[in-house]
Symmetry: none
Subunit: 362 residues, 2 copies
DNA sequence: TCCGTAGACG
DNA sequence: CGTCTACGGA
C-alpha cells in the first residue's frame, strides 16, 4: 500500500517531461524511503535515475517495497490533467494493478481522480557505485542547455575537456567547428583531493591514485553480485577490467550507505574547499546536494583531480538538458573512460543521467 | 588578414536573419573601409547590398581586400551560438579557407570560438549608380512591414503610387482589394528639386528633367565598363535603353565620389527642405544616412520630383521588411521604370534591397 | 509565444 | 494510415 501526497503536481510533470522522450516504460520503485526510478533509455545507451525522497512529500506512506510499472506516455497524459499547483496524491494498493492519482486544487474546490493501469516491467535495479569523479563541475543549468544546443547545431558529438583552465566543450562539424570554454566563476579550478596532480591522464587502467583505486575497489565489491544482464552492456565498453559502472545489485541497500560514510570522513581530511565540496563532492549521495538551488549562486564551479577528456553524443546531452526546469544548476561528473553523470537536484530528490563516452573517433 | 571586433553579435545575427532567406551564399568583401556584401537573391530578381563600415566596429583591421565566401546557412548556425550582447570577433587569415568567430560574454567568463569553412564564390561586384530618385519616402519600418504583410494576404503584387497626396500601396486580389495611403506626417509632400512639376509623368524615356538626365548620364558613364554579366540581366528589363541600374564596376571608386560632390552643391541650391534632403537625398552615398535612427522621429516623410507608380512583388517586399529589426525607419526610393531601393540604415552601415518593378499587368 | 511542418510511433 | 510529439520559423 502506497500513499504519497505531493504538494505540487508540477514536480512530477516536470520529471516526466524530462524523461518521457528517453524512456517509454519504467518502474517507480516505492519503498519507505521514497520513490526511485531507474531505467535505461530506449536504445540502451543512457541510464536515467530519479529519486524522490519521502521527505519531499506532504504525506508519505509505503508499507512495503512495491515496484509500479508505468507507461510514461500514459502517466504523462494523466499528469496533463493536473494543474502545476494542484496537490497530487498517488495511491496504489498491494494487489492492484493500477495507480490512483488524485489532484486537488489549492482552494480544494476541485478534486480530480484518475486511475492509471500499471504494467509488469522486469527491469532489474542496477547498482550504481558511488564513484569519486576526477572532475566535478557545477554550472547554471541554462548555460549547459545553451552550450549543448549550440554545439548540436554543428556536430553530432562533443568533446568535454576539464583542465586547469576550466571546462571546454568542443564539437567538430561539417560546416564549422565550435569550442566553448567556461572558466570557474571565482577564477580558480579546485585541483585534486589526493597527492597526485599529473599533467596528462591515463588512457587506461594504470591510474592507481587514491580515489580511483577506491572506486574500483567498490566496483569490485559490487561485482560479486553482478548478474549477466544486458542492460548495462552498452554502458560498459570494458566489461571485464574491473571498471564496471553499473551492476545489478543485491537487495541489501546498506552497502552503499556504509561506503558513503567511509568516504565522508576521508573527504573531510582532504584539501577540498568547503564551498565546493558541499556542492559537488558527493554527487551520488542523497541529501548532499539537496537544496542546491537555494544556495546556488549562478556561477561555475570546477573541482578536479586530474585532467579529463571525454566525448559524448550531443543528442543525449540535449535531451538531458530538458531537466533544466527542475533546477537552476546542473552537476557534471566525469572521470576518464567512465560514463558521464549529469545531475539535477531539486528539493528532496534528483534526476540523474549516465552516459557512456564515445570511444575512439566515432 | 582580417580582424574585426563587433560590440554586439546581435547586429550580425539580425543582418543574417534579414538576408538568409533571400541568398544562400555570398562574399563578405572586406577591405580597410569595412565589410560589404552584395548578392543577387537566389532567383536573381532582387539585389541585396550590405555595408558595415569599419567605424562601426570596436576594433577593425584589414590589411588588404579579401572576399570571404560564406554559406549563409552555416554562418547563421554559427551565429545562433552567440548571445545578442556577446562581443563577436571575426578573424580570417590571408591564406586560410576558414573564418574564425570568437564570442565573449559581457562578463567574459564564457568564451566561445568557432571556425567556419569558407568557400570560393565567383560573384562579381556590381556597380550601383548613385541614382537620384524621383520619389524618396521615409517611413517607420514597422509601418512598412505591416503594410506589405497585410497586402500580401490579398494579392501577389502591390502597386505603389507616390503623388502629392502621399504614398499609396494598392493590391488587387481574388477575394479583396486593398489600398493603404500614408500621408506625410507634416502634411506636405516635398515636391521637386527641379523646375518641372508636371501632373502625369513619363511612361518611357521622355523625361529629361535635370536630375534624371544627370542620372542617365551617370549610368552611361558607368556603362563603359559594363561587362556581359548574367547577374544583372533580370534586373534590367531594358538592357539597351541607357537605363541600366547595375553594372559590373571598375576598381575605380573615385568616380562615384566625384558625382556625389557635384550633386550636393546642386541640391543645396534647390528648394528641398534641409531635413528631408539630409535624410533621403543621397541614399546610395555612405555616411549620409548614418545614424538615421538617432534622429528619426517616427513620422512619414515624402519628397518627390514627379509622380511615380510602380508595381512590385509583395513576396520580396515582405522579405525585405525582415530588416526592421535593424532600424526604426526605412527609406523607399523610386523612379519610374527603375528598380525600387529599400534601405535600412543602422549605426555605421546599412542594408539595401533593389527590386525591379513588374512590367505590364503580371 | 504560438503556429505549422516534419518525423516517429501505434 | 492516422495520431501524437518534437522542432523550427514567424
Amino acid at each position: 500500500m502506497l500513499e504519497a501526497k505531493l504538494q505540487e503536481a508540477g514536480l512530477l510533470k516536470k520529471l516526466l517531461d524530462a524523461i518521457k522522450e528517453l524512456v517509454t516504460d519504467a518502474n517507480f520503485d516505492c519503498n519507505e524511503e521514497g520513490i526511485n526510478l531507474q531505467a535505461m533509455d530506449n536504445s540502451h545507451v543512457a541510464l536515467v535515475v530519479v529519486k524522490m525522497e519521502s521527505t519531499g512529500f506532504k504525506k508519505y506512506r509505503c508499507d512495503r517495497p512495491m515496484p509500479l510499472g508505468v507507461n510514461l506516455a500514459s502517466l504523462t497524459k494523466v499528469l496533463k490533467c493536473a494543474k502545476d499547483d494542484d496537490t497530487c496524491t498517488l495511491k496504489a494498493g498491494d494487489g492492484l494493478d493500477s495507480l490512483n492519482l488524485v489532484y486537488e486544487a489549492k482552494n480544494s474546490d476541485r478534486i480530480a481522480e484518475y486511475d492509471m493501469k500499471l504494467m509488469d516491467i522486469d527491469a532489474e535495479q542496477l547498482g550504481i557505485p558511488d564513484t569519486d569523479y576526477d572532475a566535478r563541475i557545477t554550472l547554471p543549468a541554462a548555460e549547459f542547455t545553451r552550450i549543448v544546443k549550440d554545439l548540436s547545431l554543428l556536430g553530432e558529438s562533443v568533446r568535454i575537456e576539464v583542465n586547469k583552465e576550466g571546462i571546454r566543450f568542443v564539437s567538430d562539424g561539417e560546416a564549422a567547428n565550435g569550442s566553448v570554454l567556461l572558466k570557474p566563476t571565482d577564477g580558480k579550478v579546485k585541483i585534486g583531493d589526493d597527492d597526485e596532480e599529473e599533467e596528462e591522464e591515463k588512457e587506461d587502467e594504470e591510474d592507481e591514485d587514491e580515489d580511483s583505486a577506491k572506486a574500483k575497489k567498490k566496483a569490485k565489491k559490487q561485482k560479486k553480485v553482478k548478474k549477466e544482464s544486458n542492460d548495462d552492456v552498452e554502458m560498459n565498453g570494458d566489461e571485464e577490467n574491473g571498471n564496471e559502472e553499473f551492476t545489478a545489485k543485491s537487495d541489501d541497500e546498506g552497502e552503499d550507505e556504509k561506503e558513503d560514510d567511509e568516504e565522508e570522513s576521508e573527504g573531510s581530511s582532504k584539501k577540498r574547499k568547503k564551498a565546493s565540496s558541499s556542492k559537488s563532492k558527493k554527487p551520488a549521495k542523497k541529501a548532499k546536494t539537496k537544496k542546491d538551488d537555494d544556495e546556488y549562486s549562478g556561477g561555475v564551479d570546477i573541482a578536479m583531480n586530474q585532467h579529463v577528456t571525454l566525448t559524448f553524443s550531443l543528442k543525449y546531452l540535449v535531451n538531458f538538458s530538458k531537466s533544466s526546469s527542475l533546477s537552476d544548476s546542473v552537476q557534471l561528473m566525469m572521470s576518464n573512460d567512465v560514463p558521464l553523470l549529469v545531475s539535477y537536484s531539486f528539493e528532496s530528490g534528483y534526476i540523474r543521467y549516465y552516459l557512456a563516452p564515445k570511444i575512439g573517433d566515432d
